[in-house]
């Protein structure tokens, strides 16, 4: 990533603050176990991938979760609630500030780091995943939604399994 070339201005500051708030709300949605609301953060024809950095670095496309519409996100939540079996746990996302890549009209390209801590029912907290969001956000009816989110994770040896979204 190159050093920023734009002087900070009010418009840019507002946009970054808006994205930071959007991401914070997204994280709380997951961490507060309100997964039914999670797909609402996305546009209808969104893409959401959780992909190991190993694959990204090799130019390989396989993701461990790959959804290319909002219906698939809803399916994931229904499956987690009704079908899949996984260790009970709390998630806690800690997000880095968003960095603007480019912004044009209704589309914003942005990325930010995340740290995802997991606490299982034995009460111990571990780093479950570290990585970054590579996002394309779209302004829909005046508010930001995710058109594309690639969750690129460094922690490529997943601890047991991945059930809840990042």
């Amino acid at each position: 990533m190159n050093p920023p070339v734009h002087a900070m201005n009010a418009e840019r500051q507002l946009l970054l603050a808006e994205i930071a708030e959007f991401n914070a709300a997204y994280a709380h949605c997951i961490d507060d176990d309100q997964l039914e609301q999670w797909p609402d953060y996305f546009t209808e024809n969104c893409e959401y991938r959780i992909i190991p950095r190993e694959n990204v670095d090799l130019g390989l496309p396989a993701a461990i979760i790959f959804c290319d519409n909002r219906g698939m996100l809803i399916d994931r939540v229904v499956a987690l609630r009704k079908a899949n079996i996984y260790p009970a746990h709390y998630s806690r996302h800690v997000l880095g500030p968003p960095v603007l890549i480019k912004s044009e009209d209704q589309i914003v390209h942005v990325q930010s780091s995340y740290l995802l801590l997991q606490t299982r029912m034995d009460g111990e907290t571990h780093v479950f995943s570290a990585g970054k969001y590579l996002d394309v956000l779209e302004r829909v009816n005046g508010v930001l939604r995710i058109k594309r989110r690639d969750v690129v994770f460094d922690t490529h040896r997943i601890d047991t399994l991945l059930a809840t979204p990042i």
Binding site: L58, A62, V78, A79, K82, H156
Partner: protein, 423 residues
Amino acid sequence: MKPGDIIAASVPEAVDARVYHDSDIFEQEQERIYRGPVWSYVALECELDGAGAFKSTFVGNTPVVVTRDEEGKLNAWVNRCAHKGALVCRALRGHAADGSFVCVYHQWAYDAKGNLRGVPFRRGMKGTGGMAKDFDLAQHGLQKLRVASLCGMVFLSFDDQVPPLEQFLGPDMCRYIRRVFNRPVRVLGYARQNMRGNWKLYSENSRDGYHGGLLHLFYPTFGIYRPSQESAGEVDAAGFHNAFTVSKPSQAGGYESYQSEANREMSGGAAGTEMLRDPSVLEFRPEFDDNIALLIQSLFPSVVLQQIQNTLATRQIVPHGVAETELVWTYFGYADDDEAMTRHRLRNINLVGPAGYISMEDGEAVELCDQGTANTSGWRSLIEMGGDDVVDHVAPIGLDENAVRGFWKGYLALMNGAAQVQS
């Protein structure tokens, strides 16, 4: 308790749970199984493209490197410098620029075959230092392994007496491998997961057809699984290896017809009432000359080869420790797949892997068994579904534990010191 006593207390249909926890047994497995008369899967040939290509991996818990040399041949050696034992190769994969592998510590240099080619200051300087005059490079290469491949699947063995690969796998397993690798493949990516449990718990899991519709509730929840699907399980003569096959739905409409049928039949929030908003995740595009929509092949001791719908993958089992098992998924498609087919495979991958709709529970099952059997003394498991023997063919699957008993039959024979077990 000595390892031998724990093994002696175990039979294929009832295993002393200390086999999952005893560190002496884990050490003995490394010697008698992983460094013994077996072939361990480590790579696909297409991952080793061109002279100097290499991949670092493990056979059991021993770090090894597979390489392709100047002549295009595959080689493998233990990743341990003959000098101080340092890892020679520090990258997961790549190309050694001039085909040489140099230990960073003192720059001892090896070729792709594992031969020692150079030792800095070997002759000392101005009559001082250096190695003894009779130091022979040829005597200090890296420890080499045998390499064999079948249709692009690469296997290694430490044992000079191991039967040829195809004989070790047996004709049925070779047939299914040839089926999947009927044309050149291309890697789509990797996924790795670490299970906090013993490797044998996963080996049992992949041979256990009984748990399919019971643990993996995605099938019944979305009304996908039908007991009426044709299925079979085949075990080789030694018991080591197993292949499960399940046919695709015979009705028009495929899996979606199952789903709508199930939704008509059931109501009121019971299992089978959920509809997938996007059933494309389940779609199966026939691409073989048969009706098999699911093939899960467990090849002793270190790999599962799968075709689930259109997901093709190897799952390499790496036992890092007695209760630490890494599963490395290598997803692949065919080299001649077009963009639409690749995208379809990527969508199918939602079903499998560490976050897979029908596979994530396996990691949890391994850990539950690990936790439940810790600190037992003499407690034995009960593996008697469908009898207490091992037969070579079972149909349909899901009502027996034949292949799990097969695994233990082969395992116990090796742990009891059998020099060779053939399929």
